[in-house]
């Protein structure tokens, strides 16, 4: 079964790192061996793209206080431990993953890559290097042999 790599965010706001990562993976030719998908703030609709028994990598922007451009693999348990369900608008990635867990609908393998966001207009090259790091990690996680 092919890995599915899902970039999450918005193509028209600064929360576009998930989308930019998918663009780079595509430009690197990974779409030949991986299923690449960019979703615009899907909320619970994310569940439709993650079936049981599947292998999924999620890429999303994060704000964790680290330097802009830091790339970190997030532990599912840590992510969903802080999830609440305060409102309909706040049904984000963490809440949706918690819902998937409650429904027994989590993928067989799931990796979550977070890219630390930076302040607009202060890109000192962190963005490009962060996206290259995501490319390297996706290749390593999926053992994808697509051309460099």
């Amino acid at each position: 079964m092919r890995w599915r790599v899902i970039g999450i965010g918005s193509p028209v706001t600064r929360d576009d790192l998930g989308w930019a990562a998918i663009d780079l993976l595509r430009m690197a030719g990974l779409d030949a061996s991986l299923e690449l998908l960019a979703l615009d703030r899907p909320g619970p609709a994310l569940l439709e793209h993650m079936g049981r028994g599947e292998r999924v990598i999620l890429i999303d922007a994060m704000q964790s206080g680290q330097p802009p451009g830091s790339v970190r693999e997030l532990a599912l348990d840590d992510l969903i431990a802080g999830a609440g369900m305060p409102s309909t608008h706040a049904l984000g990635v963490a809440e949706t993953l918690r819902l998937a867990e409650a429904l027994g609908a989590l993928p067989e393998r799931l990796h979550i890559l977070g890219i630390e966001m930076g302040t607009p207009g202060t890109d000192g090259g962190w963005r490009a290097s962060a996206l290259r790091e995501v490319l390297r990690r996706v290749r390593a996680l999926t053992e994808c042999r697509a051309p460099e």
Binding site: R41, A45, G84, M85, S87, T88, H89, R98, L99, A102
Partner: protein, 432 residues
């Protein structure tokens, strides 16, 4: 039993509603003395943002008022702008707008019933906790919500803040192959939608009949969505242009959302008001499914709103199937528009109730003034009225946790979108 102690309850976040608000309750001698639904979300100033903007920008701006019901804002604004410019959209456009609106009712109601309201009636803190025990119900809700989103995407490119609509019609006709796929999904979902009506009617809902005024649009033969006259069960029957003559908005100190009254009375808009006033306009299969529940209409029990939403989901699926079976693309998908000075108003039935807009435009079609009356602000006075009656009927002898839960349940039952009206509820109960 009420004592002379003063009790203060604070709920940091009113869960499962949209927006930030608080409830203050002061009770004395077993009676409620003061009850305020305080909405303190900062004013959002959308009407002022619109001033000076070209008519072509209005639909993209008003969609940002709400992430759950952007279509309602676009539909109402486009109607007002077309009235101002004397534009008559083609019957093909009107059918497709109704189809797109079905998508919004479907996704909004499915989300509310399954993830926001059901936990109250099945005894869970939230939809995630409920999902472990009732996974099939949650999955059904998610399927129906996705289907609604797919319908919106057909026209708008995306389900949140869609971009497909324009004054005069749509930017392009939906792709027939994509439309056929959505039609097939709707047919598959019809059983879920019909079963949901019986499911909600089988819930153990509180019995609490109240006297309230229902207000909704009413169309000659359609279940109201985006056209009709404004009617009430108190005898009101006016064209949408007459709204300012009978409805009055006012400020109160404890809310950043305006209150609205009809002839000085609070009133209800939303699914139960629509169903009370328009159940004879449902399609035959939806009427049959409703009749099978034994629900007597008009209903005076606000908790029947969850059944009304299920009925409207069923109707929306039936209607969307009917409209899509007849679908054929037309190009261009719009009629030309010549902007000019004037004014126009629009009224449609958003998932949460009647939404009313009025715009004045200059000779270039730039907005001189905008007036937007969302459903939640119209319901605000009714919610306070309901809370007072519901909590007294429930009994103030209950402990603070029970009172708080009942208060929150009453509020959630309206599916309020506080963000639209101007987010979290702090409940403070003082007993003397």
């Amino acid at each position: 039993m009420t004592g002379h102690r003063e009790i203060r309850i604070e709920v940091p976040v009113l869960a499962r509603v949209e927006g930030e608000g608080a409830l203050d309750l002061i009770a004395s001698g077993g009676r409620i003395e003061t009850l305020r639904l305080r909405i303190f979300e900062p004013p959002r100033y959308f009407e002022k943002f619109l001033e000076g903007r070209g008519y072509g920008e209005v639909l993209d701006i008003v969609a940002r008022i709400c992430g759950i019901c952007p279509v309602a804002y676009q539909m109402t604004a486009v109607q007002a702008l077309e009235q101002a410019f004397g534009v008559e959209p083609s019957p093909w456009v009107l059918r497709l707008r109704r189809l797109m609106y079905c998508g919004e009712w479907l996704q909004s109601h499915a989300l509310h019933i399954h993830l926001l309201a059901l936990p109250d009636f099945l005894g869970f803190d939230n939809g995630i906790a409920m999902a472990a025990k009732h996974p099939d119900a949650v999955r059904r809700g998610l399927r129906l919500q996705r289907l609604g989103n797919d319908l919106i995407k057909l026209f708008g490119g995306r389900s949140v803040h869609p971009v497909g609509m324009r004054v005069g019609g749509f930017h392009r006709a939906p792709d027939p192959e994509q439309a056929a796929r959505v039609l097939a999904e709707l047919r598959s979902a019809l059983h879920d939608a019909e079963a949901l009506v019986g499911f909600t009617a089988g819930l153990e809902l509180p019995e609490d009949d109240q006297d309230f005024l229902s207000v909704a649009l009413r169309h000659e033969h359609e279940y109201p969505m985006f056209s009709g006259r404004i009617v009430s069960d108190g005898g009101l029957d006016i064209p949408i242009e007459g709204f300012p003559d009978r409805f009055r908005e006012s400020h109160v100190a404890h809310s950043t959302a305006l209150y609205a009254h009809l002839d000085e009375r609070p009133y209800l808009v939303g699914p139960l008001a629509r169903l009370n006033l328009n159940h004879d306009r449902l399609s035959a299969p939806a009427r049959a499914a409703l009749a099978a529940t034994g629900l007597r209409l008009p209903s005076r029990n606000m908790f029947h709103s969850v059944i009304a939403r299920a009925v409207e989901i069923h109707e929306a699926v039936l209607e969307a199937i009917r409209l899509l079976e007849d679908y054929h693309p037309e190009e261009p998908a719009f009629v030309p528009v010549e902007p000019g000075a004037g004014s126009g108003c629009g009224a449609t039935e958003a998932p949460r109730g009647m939404l009313w807009h009025r715009y004045e435009l200059d000779d270039e079609g730039k907005v001189l003034s905008a007036w937007i009356v969302p459903p939640t602000s119209q319901n605000q006075a009714r919610i306070e009225d309901d809370l007072r009656r519901s909590l007294e009927a429930f009994g103030l002898h209950h402990d603070d946790d029970a009172l708080r839960l009942r208060g929150e349940t009453v509020i959630r039952n309206y599916d309020p979108c506080i963000s639209c009206a101007t987010h979290f509820l702090k409940v403070r109960v003082q007993r003397h």
